[in-house]
Subunit: 363 residues, 2 copies
């Protein structure tokens, strides 16, 4: 089957670009002393998680317990859940999951540690924990230093809790366009995490890993060697935002655009406008409108939940009825979250279909 | 089960508010000479479609062929697809669907009519069509007047095509806050549609129905009696945008908020801030951030795909670890599109679970 025979809108992965990106991240990390644990929040697919593991990843991250349950059921063995799992109901689900696969979860709150210890005692399950430290994102995370130490000591005191490391995620800097600014901020964040680890270790508690970072800081973190593990997500796909960042002082962005949305021209209201079957329900808008692939001079604007408008300056008419158009998402994670499957292609030929198995597993 | 025992984030429907809204729309329309065909793009649920039919709806609208296929498979009998179905692959699917259920589809393009006639001849299926007329939305739709007549004549000439009416949807005015402005614009749109119908009928072609309108103009269209059928969607749920409109010159908004997202406080970084497990992947952002239900003085901002931040001016701390918080979406359609099920509740008690059966059926 060829791409232009597909019903639209449809989410595409260019297999060759994906393969390139998998190799590129392997290369970046293999020259450093650290490991990488790719973040499945970007793709929500056990097929891609397995490809990442086959490319040297040390394990997989995901954002939610529900995602971890799906990945584990599909055979993924080593999973870090990067947001707190709170409440007795979810902690009990976590205990069941931990009996089947190696799972680590972040925590930043004493009440959460109490819940984990309680369920641990009840079920006989020891929980692997990473303390989340606020290194600048100002979202989740305990402050660095003494408050993190207090949590580490609380973990140390419980036979049902085991400290596996610290997490410090500076998400807001990942897409900072200037390389120098991004580097300065990334190193500030990693330094805070390392200082906190030192404090905890000086109190006799081992801190085996320091995890954090993303695609935008992957080269910086690999060279800095302050973290022990990075969590890149978007590198496999790229999107409009990531494509704009200055990768380093000397090398171009090593990743290719593998993720696109294919849409169709369904209506031709004017000679310089066409309406696509791609709207707010089939490509995400949270980082702005998507861009068109290989169609310079044509811009997209959202025109409702199921419609998008493309327009151009002058005649001749650049789109015809039924034309297929490829769009580059501005945010790969939230676009993937709208679909149930990827159509995988090589050039113009469809080669596979992968389920987005953890889509919608937001609990 | 009680609401505060649910894992979060979770999409809730207040059964009593939903029932109120179903009755309110029935009341609005039953006092007029027109019918209503609610739009399933808002809820994507055959359960709710059946409730709407039980409340006097003349049929159901949906935006996509894939949604119509799901609704038909769940027993919905009379479906209008409000965006063009283009290309031989989809038109063939439409022919199969039309053999099972009564389906009408909009069209605005001669090439689309040719495809429909071709597949009609091949499969022996007569297609029921509504011509979409651009009455101000400037999206899909043929211009009013002569171009619409040309399409009607093309339909008339084919034994495989049957004209069922005209559609004129002025979506952009539905949430116009001023009642007077909304009324003026709605009547302008309906007048254009009626004039076009007159032109077509004066050429000997019957135009049985004029369909259009939405929740925001439902009272106006019912009183004006220019359309024969309206397509309200959001009335069953309400959202932040709809709650702000001035309903009429004399009566308050007759609909209640039935749709909310329940989230949990998962982290407490400061005394005047808390982090929720509700981000871009569990409540839509295209119309801005959601509002909190029954929590004055607390505001929400998105803080990533899986996180939201709520904050307030002063101490004391207004949220505690584990607190459940209800959020009112700014856009019900795109929020529903993120979930696979509704949890239906009455007061604080869970009473049912409904699948969002047509979610993700964007083709």
């Amino acid at each position: 089957m060829k791409l232009n025979e597909l019903d639209t809108p449809v989410l595409l992965i260019d297999q060759d670009a994906l393969g390139h990106n998998l190799n590129a991240m392997k290369e970046i990390v293999s020259n450093s002393g650290i490991t990488y644990r790719p973040h499945a929040k970007a793709h929500k697919s056990h097929d891609i998680a397995k490809l990442q593991l086959a490319h040297g990843a040390s394990g997989i991250c995901c954002a939610k317990l529900g995602e971890a349950e799906v990945l584990a059921s599909e055979g993924i063995q080593d999973i870090l859940i990067t947001t707190p799992v709170i409440g007795l109901s979810k902690v009990s689900r976590l205990a069941s999951l931990a009996k089947k696969t190696s799972v680590i979860v972040v925590a930043d709150n004493p009440q959460n540690l109490e819940e984990l210890a309680l369920v641990g005692e009840k079920t006989g399950q020891i929980f692997n924990l990473v303390i989340e430290v606020n290194v600048g994102q100002n979202r989740c995370g305990t402050p660095p230093g003494a408050p993190a130490l207090a949590l580490a000591q609380m973990i140390q005191r419980s036979p049902w809790l085991k400290l596996c490391g610290l997490q410090g995620y500076q998400g807001s800097i990942q897409m900072r366009e200037s390389f120098t600014e991004r580097k300065t901020e990334a190193q500030k964040a990693s330094f805070l995490l390392r200082e906190t680890a030192k404090l905890i270790e000086s109190n006799g508690i081992n801190v085996p890993s320091l995890t954090g970072g993303g695609t935008g800081t992957s080269l910086i973190d690999s060279e800095a060697n302050l973290l022990t593990e990075i969590q890149p997500g978007g590198y496999i796909f790229m999107d409009v935002k990531y494509r704009k960042i200055e990768w380093s002082n000397s090398t171009p962005l090593p990743f290719q655009q593998s993720l696109t949305v294919l849409g169709s021209v369904i209506s031709l209201p004017d000679t310089n406008r066409a309406i696509l079957d791609v709207g707010l329900k089939s490509i995400s808008s949270d980082q702005g409108p998507p861009e068109l692939m290989d169609m310079p001079g044509i811009t997209f604007r959202f025109s409702g939940e199921e419609h998008g408008e493309v327009s151009w300056q002058d005649s001749p008419r650049l789109c015809q009825y039924g034309d297929k158009v490829r769009l580059i998402p501005t945010h790969c994670d939230t676009t993937v979250n709208l679909y149930d499957q990827y159509i995988v292609h090589s050039g113009n030929t469809v080669v596979d279909v992968w389920r987005i198995s953890a889509r919608g597993r937001s609990q």
